[in-house]
């Protein structure tokens, strides 16, 4: 619903009308009413505007300045031009983090989407105790991330944890989920899919609910296989919601700090470091504000580009 409203309102914003529609201009009683209305409207908006400027706009502008300086958390430092950006772009750590951010995001988005869509399709049919499953399956997303991370630590962190013991019993040897760089990457990605799929399940469930069932009856009469029905009818009909959910999940994955920080802290040997974690540790552990902000800024720009591309895709779908 949020997404619907965001996209819809954006469209209206482009057309220059408010959310209530273009409507007829406020009645003949006219000017006096309109004047008092605009005064009330200003008062209504003012508190939120002040908060936005102070807590959102000011920080971004300040951060923009800091990315051009060599300061730390306590002093503003000297102007160094684009040095922070140049040195960041030259550091291998940045590119490594960028690469893992990409992997993490791709796995997070498509993994959770595939699982969420599969479950939504299953739950759409009539199943014994289906309602209970719908609620239970949302739990990974309802539980606070610190709790989930603690629990996953219990599951995999040490050789005495249940999963490594299970792996040992299966003859896989000593599997160290968080100490081996590659396995740590896998674990973090699986964790992300685990906390995200309920969101996808909800998005896809509501999208599937709006698909007209008669279409399926018709395709069945025409002799379509289940696979054809899915690829040619179901997927195209939920494509709009799919793109929206991809945009949102991309933003969540790229901006996700706690999942990684709580599980691995970016290690071992920085293998699970994403750009957000790198930006955080650059500022709050190495006390270099400039490069840290530069990383966050470049990340945001790429994110905006990706979101815009996907958003265009949505508009294309709308036109069709």
């Amino acid at each position: 619903m949020m997404t619907e409203s965001v996209i819809g309102s954006l469209k209206k914003a482009r057309n220059g009308v408010g959310n209530a529609g273009s409507g007829r201009p406020p009645g003949d009683r006219g000017r006096k009413r309109r004047l008092s209305q605009s005064r009330t409207f200003t008062l209504f908006v003012l508190p939120s505007l002040i908060l936005l400027v102070l807590l959102n706009l000011y920080p971004v502008i300040y951060a923009g300045q800091q990315s051009l300086r060599n300061g730390d958390l306590l002093s503003a430092g000297n102007f160094v031009g684009l040095n922070n950006y140049v040195s960041t772009l030259q550091s291998p750590a940045f590119w490594h983090a960028a690469a893992f951010t990409l992997t993490f995001t791709l796995v997070g988005v498509f993994g959770s989407w595939a699982l969420g869509l599969g479950l939504a399709l299953l739950l759409r049919t009539r199943i014994p105790a289906g309602g209970i499953f719908k609620v239970l399956l949302l739990l990974p997303w309802v539980v606070p991330v610190v709790v989930s991370a603690t629990s996953w630590n219990w599951l995999v962190a040490t050789p005495q944890s249940p999963l490594p013991i299970l792996a040992q019993a299966l003859g896989l040897g000593n599997v160290l989920f968080l100490a081996n760089p590659f396995l740590a990457q896998v674990t973090v990605c699986v964790f992300k899919v685990w906390i995200s799929f309920p969101f996808m399940m909800m998005m896809m469930s509501s999208a599937l609910a709006s698909v007209d069932v008669n279409v399926y009856e018709a395709s069945k009469v025409d002799g379509a296989t289940a696979f054809q029905t899915f690829g040619r009818i179901t997927l195209p009909m939920i494509s709009r919601s799919t793109y929206i959910s991809w945009i949102l999940m991309t933003i969540f994955c790229v901006n996700d700090f706690p999942s990684i920080f709580l599980l691995t802290g970016g290690g071992p040997v920085n293998s699970t470091q994403t750009l957000v974690v790198l930006a955080y540790s650059t500022v709050f552990q190495n006390f270099q504000t400039g490069p840290g902000v530069a990383i966050a800024f470049m990340m945001t720009i790429v994110l905006v580009i990706i979101a815009t591309l996907l958003y265009r895709q949505i508009r294309k779908v709308n036109i069709e």
Binding site: G18, T150, L262
Partner: protein, 296 residues
């Protein structure tokens, strides 16, 4: 987005009113595979829920150095008497409740303007909100830390609350506006004819009919404040100021192997969202999506 779609999306995440009648024919045809699908989904749910069930079960096991046998609640007694969990819980609740109150009070009128206003300025404002929302929290946390350090708001629950209010703001306004869209403007126009002021019609007609919208926004703000980790870990430095997120994290680091106690704290932490979820399921889906929009 038409009013209708936002409405159905709001009330019918899983329970579309029109569905059951049409569905029957479809599902009758598929009845044979019913139990197979049940088994599939049962297995998936069982695997998926392991970490959560583990938290609950471990919290009921006797902790290290305990003489109790079998299932026991003594961990919960212990954490409340021997650690600062009580303080952390009150901190988290306080921060979340204040965030909810301020967010709703500030966002409701702004959302009303967004929903009813027709000028270029209003549409410009809604675009600004969207842009603000997509900026990562890390970027704004750094300057706010520097600013707050100057005015003594670092390691201060008020400082954290202010940031939560700021980060809920744009989504909260969007959510309120989307709900107000579903309330016909004709009601207000009639009231204006009778000489009611804009503020009067907003308070008496629109707000009064917007309980679901207000609830969803409140749930969203509560979850954001309750679940945040990044802001808390940057700004809160001393034990008595920790929220549960940071409290659980440090407690876990200090008592790595004493899972009974650690998981008892975890249960305390996840109980409020789960209870909210159980009680207000319908509004949750709306608020929840907004909540994750703010970045999980």
């Amino acid at each position: 987005m038409s009013v209708e779609t936002s409405r159905t999306a709001m009330t019918g995440q899983f329970t579309s009113a029109a569905r059951p009648r049409k569905r029957r024919t479809l599902s009758q045809a598929r009845d044979s595979g019913k139990w197979l699908r049940f088994v599939v989904i049962f297995v998936i749910a069982a695997i998926v829920l392991v970490p959560i069930v583990a938290v609950v079960l471990l919290s009921l096991q006797p902790s290290l150095g305990s003489t109790a046998n079998g299932i026991t609640l003594e961990n919960f007694g212990k954490i409340f008497t021997e650690t600062s969990v009580g303080t952390w819980l009150m901190n988290s609740l306080g921060v979340a409740v204040v965030t909810v109150l301020v967010a709703v009070i500030v966002a409701a009128p702004a959302g009303y303007v967004l929903s009813r206003g027709r000028s270029k300025l209003v549409s410009g404002y809604s675009l600004v909100l969207f842009v603000v929302q997509s900026l990562p929290v890390v970027t704004s946390v750094i300057p706010l830390f520097i600013l707050f350090a100057k005015v003594g708001l670092v390691d201060n629950l008020a400082g954290v609350t202010i940031i939560y209010v700021g980060s809920t703001m744009s989504v909260a306004i969007w959510m309120m506006a989307a709900y107000f869209d579903s309330i016909p403007i004709t009601l207000e126009e009639a009231a204006w004819m009778d000489g009611c002021s804009v503020f009067g019609s907003f308070a008496r007609i629109v707000l009064r009919n917007s309980l679901p919208g207000v609830l969803s926004t409140a749930i969203f703000a509560f979850l954001l404040a309750w679940n945040d980790y990044l802001v808390a870990v940057v700004f809160l430095r001393s034990d008595q100021n920790y929220t549960l997120q940071i409290g659980l994290q440090t407690f876990f680091q200090q008592n790595q192997t004493n899972w009974g106690l650690v998981m008892a704290v975890a249960v305390v932490m996840m109980l409020p969202p789960v209870i909210l979820f159980a009680a207000l399921n319908k509004y949750f889906s709306v608020g929840g999506i907004g909540g994750s929009l703010a970045g999980r």
